[in-house]
Symmetry: C2
Subunit: 343 residues, 2 copies
């Protein structure tokens, strides 16, 4: 299952806001609409946002009518800037936009650049899926037969170019014939765990039990969970991990109960320019995501709301970071660099 793909000059994506009750596919042929789809989380998940932005650049570039390469690059910058403004936390977005910018800068002429940009986006998409499968193989070594695994949010096929990061590890272990089961945090406010992770795992025939976020501690304390695996939106050089709000809580509860806490993410999620997670910008989203669920009010009118979409888990809570190039452990300051370099 592909959350996003290139289909005959358009980008085709499954509208994740409508899952699991409706499977609606959208076709988009312009970058502005795709930028809105990223903002509205019709497409979400750090790696998927990266590849969506790359496709959006290709779409935007294709429509540019320019008289010179310089003119073209000037117009392309508007596209890049628009996409960079969609969501601030996941670094894969900026990583993808930088890669696309470099391709544009080094292109020969306008037509060649347009073609190069599409090739680059397609390559990113294919490389990403392949990287997830390698990540899955590395991560599966940490999963023993009979394990019960807790995950938070959705780091599955829907969040990536395919296969998934955290769910990729789970898929790989399942594929090896290990009997595993998953506890999925529902992940308020937008319920990606209930709506997307449960849906993906049921499709794949992997046993899943849905719980509210507030129950994770109960099952960790009760000895029901053998390990936690989550994805990431940005990882600082020291191993601090930004991920969906609530991840930090799960990590603290895992450590308190001596349960390993693993992060699975491609090296494009690692931001070596940031010394620690304190520097990662945290997106604040609108109040309605908390006060309304699928349009139904669950709080008094006009109540004040805070809605940070991410939190940062300090590296001391992170037992290992699984990447497509291997498994990083403390000291992350050294091991993450090696992973990024592909050592």
């Amino acid at each position: 299952m592909k959350a996003i793909e290139w289909a005959k000059g358009k980008v085709r994506l499954i509208d994740q806001t409508k899952l699991p009750t409706e499977e609606v596919y959208i076709e988009i042929d312009n970058y502005e609409e795709l930028a809105c789809a990223i903002e509205d989380m019709q497409i979400r998940g750090a790696p998927a946002i990266g590849v969506a932005a790359a496709y959006a650049v290709a779409l935007g570039a294709d429509k540019i009518e320019a008289t010179s390469k310089q003119d073209f690059l000037g117009q392309l910058k508007v596209v890049l800037d628009r996409l960079a403004a969609t969501r601030p936390t996941a670094v894969n977005l900026f990583w993808a936009l930088e890669r696309m910018d470099m391709v544009a800068q080094s292109g020969k002429d306008i037509e060649a650049i347009k073609a190069d940009l599409l090739v680059e986006a397609l390559r990113m998409d294919a490389d990403g899926e392949e990287a997830n499968m390698r990540m899955g193989a590395y991560g599966a070594e940490l999963i023993e037969d009979g394990y019960t695994i807790l995950t938070h949010c959705n780091a599955g096929a829907l969040a990536t170019e395919g296969y998934g990061t955290a769910l990729g590890v789970i898929r790989a272990a399942h594929g090896q014939g290990k009997k595993i089961q998953v506890y999925a945090d529902e992940t308020r406010p937008l319920l990606q765990g209930a709506r997307l992770t449960a849906w993906e795992l049921i499709k794949d025939g992997i046993a899943v039990t849905l719980i509210t976020d507030s129950m994770a501690g109960y099952f960790l304390k009760g000895g029901m969970i053998n390990c936690v695996i989550v994805g990431a939106d940005r990882i600082a050089a020291n191993g601090d991990v930004a991920n969906k709000i609530g991840t930090y809580s799960v990590a603290v509860l895992a450590k308190e109960n001596n349960v390993p806490f693993y992060v699975a993410a491609p090296t494009s999620t690692v931001d070596l320019s940031l010394a620690s997670g304190d520097e990662i910008p945290i997106e604040e989203r609108k109040a309605e995501e908390v006060t309304h669920i699928k349009g139904v009010a669950v709080a008094p009118d006009g109540v004040s709301v805070a809605n940070p979409a991410f939190d940062v888990t300090p590296h001391k809570y992170v037992s290992a970071i699984i990447t497509e190039n291997g498994i990083a452990k403390e000291p992350y300051l050294m091991t993450l660099k090696d992973m990024v370099r592909g050592k």
Copy 2:
């Protein structure tokens, strides 16, 4: 505001499943209907369940036609057993039923017992509210001007005979002119924080910010919270506290971030017969509470669900237990006994 009250031979309660979008009052004149209202959580919160059960016994007793005191007590036992089977975790229910049973046993004749039972229920109701106000006064000493207080679930007027336990402390501090603000966990699955706590605090003009349960750790880590106050459904002799699912997680996160974690509960919530929280029965509720929110599906059809309604916070995470007789601290094994004895 009274969640439950005696009104001319009937019990009048506000249907808490409909708040905050609708304020619907129900009048009940028979114990079976009131038992169902407890099960369906139209009335909820440990102290409120206790007084509701007491009124239900009075309603049930009034309808008994018996030929002898022995016959009467036999029929009353059916009423007591039915009510004891409504919800297993909150000990106030059993405490109230035992008190009502003792009154019945020691009554002179059938008519006297019927009258005594109603008087006892009314006294329990009035005593409970008065106890909450004393608890509030004790607890307010722990709250400094300018504090931001995190609470989980609803331990307010709606959960009690009036005024509230955790929210009673907050009300008392507010009443003393201290500038405080509250962060309210929404408290999935039934959203008592979003629906009830936010509603109560807005009514009282106390500043409240609604957050999802998964955000509590973020704000505790960020240094935004000065203390946590929650209610309790049962407290073991060693100070272990059963309360709404998610309370344990908040307690661990508070300790990890050096934020005091307070429990406010009347001594009727203390169960000295249990050595530790491991012995407290945890109610498992139906899957639909997790898979549907106000009737709207938020998860795939047929997904497995776990839905424990409570968890147990070990006493090592509990900074103090605020009762109507004073504030208990470690060693709880000694101090809680003193509180129960009224020392």
